[in-house]
């Protein structure tokens, strides 16, 4: 933990709290039975038109949405917030299919990175010699 004091003022905290609660208002909750404990838990409802996701996936999609709202919330209209949340949900199956693809620890990523040492250096511009005056 770093020893830096939180730089959030009381006013900023209040502003963020309003934004987070406004975000919350856009995502009504539904009560479902947890497969682990059997207890009923509240999870956010999927936005209209969004793919069906597991509770865990919904939580991840909503975390991304809330991160956007926390940082930029005052930029969006109500309709844009709904659309943002739908897009976060739509992105989730794509990420999960990608993560489910089997890769080994030593499968290198194709970065297209070409270290400078392998490349020819750009020749210096040819400067015409000065004429003697």
């Amino acid at each position: 933990m770093n020893g830096k004091k939180s730089g959030v003022s009381r006013r900023e905290f209040a502003r963020q709290a309003v934004l987070v609660s406004a975000a919350g208002a856009l995502k009504p909750f539904e009560s479902v039975v947890s497969p682990e404990s059997g207890a009923r838990v509240d999870v956010p409802q999927e936005p209209p038109g969004a793919p069906k996701l597991s509770g865990e996936s919904r939580a991840e999609a909503d975390a991304r949405y809330e991160a956007i709202i926390k940082q930029y919330g005052d930029r969006f209209s109500g309709d844009q917030k709904k659309d943002l949340r739908r897009l976060c949900y739509a992105q989730q199956p794509q990420l999960e299919r990608l993560r489910a693809f089997a890769v080994q620890n030593d499968d290198s990523p194709a970065l297209y990175l070409k270290p400078l040492v392998e490349r020819d250096k750009k020749p210096a511009a040819v400067v015409p010699p000065r004429r003697a005056s």
Partner: protein, 469 residues
């Protein structure tokens, strides 16, 4: 007086007349400028015309040719460049309102190469804002508004090289330069009935071009034949010290001569059976007829693309690299000035993708490259429809209306493979159908050869739209 017939000639045919001094580059340029001034606004095809540059370059070309200094097949040929390529002193808007006043003090390397060959810059082609880097829902996602298809002005050209496709299809220039990250040359070529080459990643310098996805952006020609694409590609390909992603000198450069094909060994064609889930009836009919033509001139066998989350990987890479490329636009909030409702907000969503997911996408890319290398051990060129549909109506919601899976587009662009789309027929409504050829990275010559052979035995690329006067 230059008639419409001449404006629709291929670069190769125009060049023969120019070299023989039977066609004046100045007159040709003025004829294309007149047509562009008249038709450009009708189709929203240009971001701007550059008549001063065009006439001055044409006059220079004409003087040189008259003096006996003929530079080659692009000398005196008028062209348009997508408005994400920097041209010194001329606004380069990237198709987006936040960059409407942007002016560079240098030319993109591609523009420089074309100037050296003596080509004549007519203007900057309209495009989808930021080449679709923030995603878009409607064809109107552009500073110029929706680009209309010359074959049917109520239909779209596809994007993001929308103006480049329309300009060539409507006979407003000899050729155009487009770019592709995922589909932006192949799709407009298919919808507009033009021939478009997406070169191997790293063969054409992107210096001076807007970056959207650093590891996937490519620059290539849209023209009236595969042979034209080859000649234009030969002029712009090559290593560039100002673009470290370009391939080494011996791998980037491309030389073209039609006679090279005489001694080349026969191509093995793989006919893809799983590139599209379904094809529209008209597309299916045209592609089936094209298969018969190809079967006559090549060894043909069925081929299948590898299966995996390749569209997902391509999507994640473009999203993350795009969010990085336009980070300031997103963070400043100026992204809200974009025309498209999806473009205004999607960058925020893309910013949230984790680094671990991005690296996973790059790992998938590496595995895919190996799978594609293995596939290209048994075939030289893969062939399938360029798109499963013909040009959709202008008001189509692209988020839902064009949401079909495109594994070949994903694979080809993830792996930097060359592809060439040529027209192979028309729908009942007289909209073009495209056929695409894809080869191993670096084997651009194979797609050119296959497409050129197809065009030697068909006339689809000769058709031109009936544009009301």
């Amino acid at each position: 007086m230059i008639g419409e017939e001449l404006l629709y000639l291929t670069v190769t045919e125009l060049a023969k007349r120019i070299e023989a001094k039977k066609l004046s580059p100045v007159q040709l340029t003025k004829a294309y400028l007149d047509r562009s001034e008249k038709l450009g606004p009708r189709f929203n095809a240009y971001a701007r015309l550059t008549p001063e540059i065009a006439v001055q370059q044409a006059e220079t070309a004409e003087k040189e040719i008259n003096r006996g200094h003929y530079r080659g097949p692009l000398h005196g040929i008028p062209y348009a460049a997508k408005d994400l390529l920097a041209v010194r002193g001329i606004p380069t808007t990237w198709g987006a309102k936040p960059f409407a006043q942007q002016v560079f003090d240098h030319d993109a390397t591609v523009i420089e190469h074309l100037r050296r060959t003596g080509a004549v810059l007519l203007g900057k082609a309209a495009m989808i804002e930021l080449a679709g880097g923030m995603n878009y829902r409607f064809a109107s996602a552009s500073l110029q508004g929706e680009t209309k298809n010359p074959w049917n002005a109520t239909c779209w050209t596809c994007g993001s090289s929308s103006g480049s496709g329309a300009i060539v299809a409507a006979g407003m220039a000899g050729f155009a330069i487009g770019t592709e990250t995922w589909g932006s040359i192949i799709c407009p070529s298919a919808f507009c009935g033009t021939s478009g080459l997406r070169p191997t990643y790293g063969r054409v310098s992107r210096s001076g071009a807007m970056a959207l996805s650093y590891s996937m952006d490519k620059i290539g020609p849209i023209a009236r034949s595969a042979e034209d694409c080859a000649r234009i590609f030969a002029a712009v390909a090559g290593h560039d010290f100002d673009d470290r992603s370009t391939l080494p000198i011996d791998k980037a450069a491309f030389t073209y001569s039609a006679s090279m094909e005489i001694t080349a060994k026969p191509l093995r064609i793989g006919w893809l059976t799983n590139a599209w889930k379904t094809l529209d009836k008209d597309v299916s009919r045209a592609v089936a007829a094209a298969e018969k033509v190809i079967r006559r001139y090549f060894t043909l066998k069925a081929a299948r693309l590898p299966e995996g989350p390749f569209e997902e990987a391509a999507g994640v890479i473009i999203s993350v690299e795009g969010a990085a490329a336009f980070r300031e636009l997103i963070r400043s909030g100026r992204v809200s000035e974009l025309a498209d409702p999806l473009g205004q907000i999607n960058g925020y969503v893309n910013e949230q993708i984790s680094g671990a997911d991005y690296i996973r996408a790059l790992q998938v890319r590496e595995i895919l490259q190996q799978k594609m290398t293995a596939l290209f051990d048994s075939v030289d060129v893969l062939v399938t429809a360029s798109q499963p549909i013909v040009a959709p109506p202008l008001d189509t919601n692209l988020e839902t209306g064009l949401s079909f899976p495109d594994p070949l587009g994903a694979i080809g662009n993830l792996c930097g493979l060359p592809a060439l789309s040529v027209p192979c027929g028309f729908s009942e409504g007289n909209l073009p159908v495209g056929l695409q050829f894809v080869a191993r990275a670096g084997n651009d010559a194979a797609v050119i050869r296959a497409a050129r052979t197809f065009q030697q035995h068909t006339e689809w690329h000769r058709r031109r739209p009936k544009i009301p006067k």
